[in-house]
Point group: C2
Chain length 460, copies 2
């Protein structure tokens, strides 16, 4: 049982200001309260996400799912009566996984299957697979010290876990993802025949997590796969018992010719400054293994919800508000680059771009890539945002898709939900709709809408 | 990909102060950083919770599970080498559910089963069950307006949903739980034969959520059950189609004679002021339907973890730190009352009591029941706590178990994790270990330990 929390209500209604520097008004507090009321009572992002995840599903660039997602989100926004809904054509890579990967550790006392998945962009092993001894490393420095003599002909096993001690899970990701991105490339330089990378996962379980990797343009291309964290622990333990064990793995992904795809855009025209644009967006493509519920169906459905909330509440923005579903964040960022290219060509003026690509979890704040003056201005809005759990407003990463828009004239803003659970699901088969909580998702959309409301009203 | 976050690191290390009024030091920042490091890298509350949930399971007061939980937590703390581990005997109610409840709606075109569960403390229907027409109300005022004429002989169906528009889910709970607590009592006054209450659940699903209810001492006792939110929606819809439909339900819980049980206490003796006590606690009993993972296995395992962290980090507190596993929060609060009674008898001086009974979710802050001066003092510690997501520090509810300790000399402090998901699981069969995220749980224990560190060092 809990006592009433009058203080919080007073804060939510703006009757008490947390800061002497507040530049917002009671009108803003009430407008923002209405945005959250509508989102929590009648929000549509959860049911829209359910459709995207369960009726369309995986949507890697170039796939049938991606095409379906483009058509469906266009129809969805058209049905909402936005002022304009349109597509931007963009050419995207087309990588396909092929049949399910297999991997087996063969050690002196037996053999053990482990769960792996090809990393996005990797070449295959051929039908016969690769069988070779394994050398475990934690860092590229360690790999260099081992040198060609100890690496040649082997499979390099990158097994540096994400550092649990970071509070923000994205910091742990940043500190480990070099293994996935450049592991194959560095191993190939020393004559390795394959690279196996511990999944970017903060939990110990049996889901392998895919993700992007790259080769050097003229370098040797060796197959690279992620192994589940449980599999990584097993492989490491068995290597201690039997350093001569061999890993046998088969995967046959293919890189097909590039294909046309699309960014999907919906907009509400500004009443006073229609040429000033505020973007809210997420990326519509997902990895092929899962429904892409948190990454990034959530962000797309929240972006659409921002515009729906404005229509439902009869908020007529002064500036043009655009929901952008970017294509191909996962393996190319072609959509983000195309959007920025066309913005330049069309001499569009962007005031701010907000991206939601950190999962559909409970809101924590916003991270800004912007001039110090712009960051200070947004921080002063904290008094009307804090009652909704948006306490963390400060410098940080905006988003991959909006990154190419970077300039001193625009604020790139990353929506920050709580990060603790994200890397249990990220790029893995368990990133499914049932992992999303309705209230957390709708609160995220409302938080983005509240910030759009303030950006539109006060400029930046 | 994410940029480095040097600002946050600087904040975490205390090199930047968020407030000119900071009373903490860099030493505190570093000590707290070590607490989180230990909890995230080597925390034991998650694996302890797994044992409690999966090897012991449900542990309603008076049950075999409760006895096992008492013995196991005592052993667990003894194994951790605390200065003293002991039991406090407390007599508790012994209510048992009996065989699984059944309910069926019989309407003109057919019949439909719905999921119900007896509310804790309810009487039964008898073997033959109850079959009666249903009258739906949203409030007690509405019930009064209907009057005896329209209520007599019927089953009153309380169907006011938790209000989705509250940001803090506990506020929504406070606003709806009167139906569960007093629904049967008020219905009986007007001659109703049963009371069916919409589950206290913010999601629409098919789990009925049990919980405490009460009768008037000399009032008529009618059977009272919770219906799943999905079942409530169905019943309400069918009532509109056929107001004469009947609900048939059977449940046969029993109230058995009271039995002895125990609070379980572990303590680390203070080096300077051993007679000043700081309590960290949760309640060891759970409802009988589930494992009680979030409610409140989490809080108990976090309380033990606070002491384990101090031992592991060789923190020697000036004051005595006690982990208390209270018995019988769910249907009597006998453990909480017994603890306070013995504290008075033994003339113990309690500085503060922190309770974790809001689930094992990601930390948000602390709610304080204390004098304004004490609240202000704790708020000034925000600069060393904010880097860990503990932004919400202010007045609020402490906890049911620690409530009986209330006085001006003590601060009652409720640990506040994020509230959004709690009421999907609260008192229902899906409150299981798999719903707990390891990092979120361990962060909670670390947050409580950080506050204990500051309370111990600076007093209050």
């Amino acid at each position: 049982m809990f006592n009433s929390r009058k203080l919080k209500l007073a804060l939510a209604l703006g009757f008490i200001s947390l800061s002497g520097q507040a530049q917002t008004s009671k009108i803003d507090s009430l407008a923002i309260r209405k945005i959250y009321d509508e989102a929590l009572a009648n929000g549509k992002s959860y049911e829209n996400l359910q459709y995207l995840c369960t009726q369309i599903g995986p949507r890697l660039s170039g796939s049938e799912g991606a095409t379906k997602a483009v058509n469906w989100t266009k129809q969805l926004m058209e049905g909402m009566g936005f002022d304009r809904v349109y597509l931007q054509e963009v050419t995207v890579p087309h990588w396909v996984r092929g049949e399910k990967e297999k991997a087996k550790i063969k050690y002196k006392n037996g053999s053990q299957e482990v769960q792996i998945c090809a990393l996005g962009g990797s070449v295959g092993t051929g039908k016969k697979g690769i069988k070779a001894p394994v050398i475990e490393v934690k860092t590229f420095e360690e790999l260099q010290r081992l040198g060609r003599e100890k690496v040649q002909g082997k499979i390099v096993f990158y097994n540096r876990p994400m550092n649990q001690q970071y509070i923000d899970a994205f910091d742990a990701y940043s500190g480990a993802v070099d293994q996935r991105g450049s592991g194959a490339l560095e191993a190939a330089k020393l004559g390795a025949v394959g690279a196996i990378v511990r999944s970017m996962n903060l939990a110990i379980d049996d889901y392998p997590h895919t993700g992007g990797m790259r080769y050097e343009e003229n370098g040797t291309k060796i197959p690279s796969a992620a192994i589940s964290t449980l599999g990584a622990e097993t492989l490491s333990r068995l290597l201690k018992e039997d350093p001569d064990l061999q890993l046998e793995f088969t995967m046959n992904p293919q890189t097909l010719p590039e294909v046309p795809s699309h960014n999907v855009i919906g907009e509400i025209k500004g009443t006073e400054f229609p040429d000033e644009i505020i973007v809210v967006g997420g990326h519509l493509d997902s990895w092929d293994l899962a429904q892409g519920a948190h990454d990034d169906g959530s962000g797309c459905m929240q972006a659409i919800e921002v515009l729906r909330l404005m229509k439902a509440l009869n908020i007529k923005p002064k500036r043009t508000i655009r929901a952008v579903m970017f294509m191909n964040e996962e393996n190319g960022n072609r959509g983000g680059r195309k959007y920025a290219e066309l913005a330049t060509t069309n001499k569009e003026k962007h005031l701010a771009a907000i991206e939601s690509d950190n999962g559909g979890f409970t809101p924590r704040g916003f991270a800004l890539e912007a001039t110090p003056a712009k960051i200070e201005k947004v921080k002063k809005w904290q008094d009307v945002l804090a009652p909704y759990g948006l306490a963390e407003i400060g410098p940080g990463h905006g988003g991959t898709d909006i990154g190419p828009l970077r300039s001193d004239n625009i604020a790139l803003i990353g929506f920050k939900p709580d990060s603790q659970r994200y890397f249990v699901y990220h790029h893995a088969a368990n990133d499914t709709f049932d992992k999303v909580n309705r209230r957390e998702l709708e609160l995220g959309g409302a938080s983005m809408a509240a910030l759009v409301y303030l950006l539109d009203k006060y400029g930046l």
